[in-house]
């Protein structure tokens, strides 16, 4: 799974191959298709007394997903030359995960402390950690952005946003 061309960063040379990723995604799609087929069959996928049953259409959709993903799977397994094509190198995967994992934490925080507070913290931490900004600047940007969102949504457009299960902004009375 390594690339032949020598690169300075060892993490650039190691990674996941395109072929492996193609196989994984095709298999996942097959599972999704199978789940759709299974549930549609349970609901009734044929002709009822009053016309097509609920599962009639999804059943056929599920079958098509299974067929299409199976063919993609076979094509990927047979395309051995793609083993040497990189889907993503370790170095780049790290960059993606650096964004994705904190983003997931952010959504988890939103669940409890609401959009405004979680967003302010997220923006500030992102700036300090990845942008190497000073704490003061980062907190200021995070807070300012969210105060302006607050006015835009709660005050002007009257669209209330999620305040969180714990609702730390309760005192504002919105």
């Amino acid at each position: 799974m390594t690339d032949e061309t020598p690169l300075p960063d060892p993490d650039e040379r190691v990674g996941i191959s395109l072929r492996l990723m193609d196989i994984i995604v095709a298999l996942l799609l097959f599972v999704v298709g199978a789940v759709v087929v299974f549930d549609s069959y349970r609901l009734g996928s044929s002709w009822g007394s009053d016309g097509p049953q609920s599962g009639y259409f999804p059943f056929r959709v599920g079958i098509l997903i299974c067929i299409a993903s199976l063919i993609t799977f076979v094509q990927a397994v047979r395309a051995r030359n793609l083993s040497y094509v990189m889907f993503v190198s370790l170095a780049r995967l790290k960059l993606v995960l650096i964004v994705l994992i904190p983003a997931l934490f952010y959504v988890l925080c939103v669940q409890y402390i609401g959009l405004y507070v979680a967003s302010a913290i997220y923006i500030a931490l992102f700036m300090v950690w990845l942008g190497k900004y000073s704490w003061l600047k980062s907190i200021l940007v995070g807070a300012l952005v969210n105060v302006s969102f607050f006015f835009m949504f709660e005050v002007w457009f009257k669209v209330p946003l999620w305040k969180g299960d714990l609702d730390p902004l309760r005192f504002l009375g919105f």
Binding site: S54, A68, V107, L115, F157
Partner: protein, 497 residues
């Protein structure tokens, strides 16, 4: 000339101070969205859609469609100044636009890009003005089998005309249909594919999918590329504008050809991106300076920009006349119609005259507004890209999260958005097309309904799709397109032998 009368009534609808203000706001927001990486036409409109819930539908569509025009304009700014296409349809603009900027001709390139976008859009709007009512009138005779045949045609053409693996296109499309089926079955009231999770009863909203697939997916992709913005500065002075305008009539053939390509690709669900590439390729082949393309030829900017705008605009024709969107952004606008309580389809032209003609009139005015705004404010918009990525990226993610939440005021949707973001990242890198998936998600229920109704009429006999000349013709065309990859391979082999 009924159309002209109706159009003037449309202008009367648009020319109120409130609607004019919304137009300006829409264009400015649109250009900003077009400039920022990770926010594009489709997800930008999707995020801002909830803000329009309380507006009258006509004002809402005017603002949203102006965001779309703005995004189309904005893509060119980053392509020319930063060599970073803000939108997929402006990739072809970088080929000659960025070299022009490097030679210090940024003002000329930008003026040419904006003006030719305007021309492309204008030709497309004129076409919509006269063709859309005719198509709608014709479509009034359609019954369920005809509509299903048109849906079939739309989806088959994705498989037939797509560049990548037809099986991947089919997988992505069917995944869209499957996701659309989740939740309450609109005919029998049964719950489908929810596996006991009552939160899934609402189903997957395509707006959430659009925000995740295009927004979050895009941020992950641009993060991987480790974006650093190093751009040329630009200021457009009036002298350059007039000089460029004076030189443009020379390229009338390119303008006409590119508009035609754009309109064709926009009405068929090819979309703006392939239209811009195709137009660039054709211009390169037809031009006398063809071999100089890529070194800063003004024609290389005119061709893709005209086609992209013509395609982006004419994608609204099938959306308005048939209720079938020609692009993901048109799909989002169609979703808006449903939310505002309008029934998309040919009856719109009969029942909602103000709405339809207000929208068409706003296309004319919006593009004129857009041209003026982008020509005068380029330095301002370019400055946005100088904000470092480590500030822009989290802010865009927050905006996406807010957009996803406001659709149904549901926290769970933010989680779904993240899930769709990862799917978008994987699909983009593995060449699964996103557009058919989004369209299937939007049209899933309607396609299924028309299929079931047809089956009910025919008592389960599939021959109903060939029961008369019209439906038979559309179905046959759809099947030809579906098997086109196979046919062309066989023809190729026969020729080779």
């Amino acid at each position: 000339m009924v159309e002209l009368n109706a159009l003037f009534q449309g202008f009367a609808v648009v020319l109120t101070p409130f609607n004019m203000l919304l137009m300006t706001i829409g264009i400015v927001l649109g250009v900003i969205i077009g400039v920022l990486p990770g926010l594009g036409g489709a997800n930008g409109v999707a995020i801002l859609l909830p803000l329009t819930f309380a507006m009258p539908p006509t004002s809402a569509i005017i603002m949203l469609s102006c965001i779309y025009w703005g995004a189309l304009f904005g893509g060119a700014i980053t392509s020319i100044l930063f060599n970073i296409p803000g939108e997929p349809w402006s990739v072809a603009t970088t080929f000659d636009g960025y070299p022009m900027a490097q030679q210090g001709r940024a003002g000329e390139a930008l003026t040419a890009a904006f003006t030719s976008s305007f021309v492309g859009a204008f030709v497309a709007v004129v076409m919509i003005t006269f063709l859309a009512p005719m198509v709608a009138k014709f479509a009034l005779q359609f019954g369920p089998p005809e509509f299903f045949a048109v849906y079939l045609l739309t989806f088959c053409s994705f498989i037939g005309m797509g560049k990548g693996s037809p099986w991947k296109t089919l997988s992505a499309m069917m995944l869209g249909f499957a996701l659309a089926a989740v939740g309450m079955d609109t005919v029998t009231g049964q719950l489908r594919l929810i596996f006991g999770f009552t939160d899934l009863m609402r189903g997957f909203d395509f707006l959430i999918a659009v925000i995740g697939l295009f927004g979050i997916g895009e941020i992950l992709l641009s993060m991987e590329e480790g974006l650093s913005f190093t751009g040329k500065t630009a200021r457009i002075n009036p002298k350059v504008v007039f000089q460029t305008w004076a030189s443009l009539p020379k390229y009338w053939a390119t303008l006409v050809r590119s508009s035609a390509i754009g309109i064709w690709m926009g009405i068929t669900p090819g979309g703006a991106t392939p239209a811009s590439f195709m137009s660039y390729g054709v211009a390169k082949r037809m031009s006398r300076d063809g071999e100089k393309f890529g070194t800063g030829q003004i024609e290389g900017v005119i061709a893709p920009e005209t086609a992209a705008h013509a395609a982006g605009t004419s994608a609204l024709l099938p959306m308005l006349a048939l209720g079938i969107p020609g692009s993901p952004t048109a799909a989002v606008l169609l979703g808006g119609l449903l939310i505002w309580g309008l029934q998309p389809g040919p009856l719109l032209f009969v029942e909602q005259k103000d709405f339809v003609w207000g929208l068409i009139a706003s296309m004319y005015l919006g593009n004129i507004f857009g041209l003026v705004i982008v020509l005068t404010c380029v330095p301002l918009f370019a400055a946005i890209l100088r904000i470092p990525f480590s500030i822009i990226a989290p802010v865009i993610l927050v905006i996406c999260a807010i957009g996803a939440y406001t659709v149904h005021s549901a926290m769970l949707d933010i989680w779904f958005m993240m899930l769709f973001g990862v799917i978008g990242y994987l699909f983009k890198k593995l060449n699964y097309p996103l557009a058919p998936m989004v369209l299937a998600l939007v049209l899933g229920d309607r396609a299924e309904d028309s299929f079931r109704q047809s089956m009910l009429i025919a008592q389960g006999d599939l021959r109903i799709f060939f029961s008369n000349g019209l439906v038979g013709g559309i179905t046959a065309l759809a099947l030809i397109l579906l098997f086109w990859p196979l046919v062309s391979r066989v023809v190729g082999r026969l020729r080779g032998a």
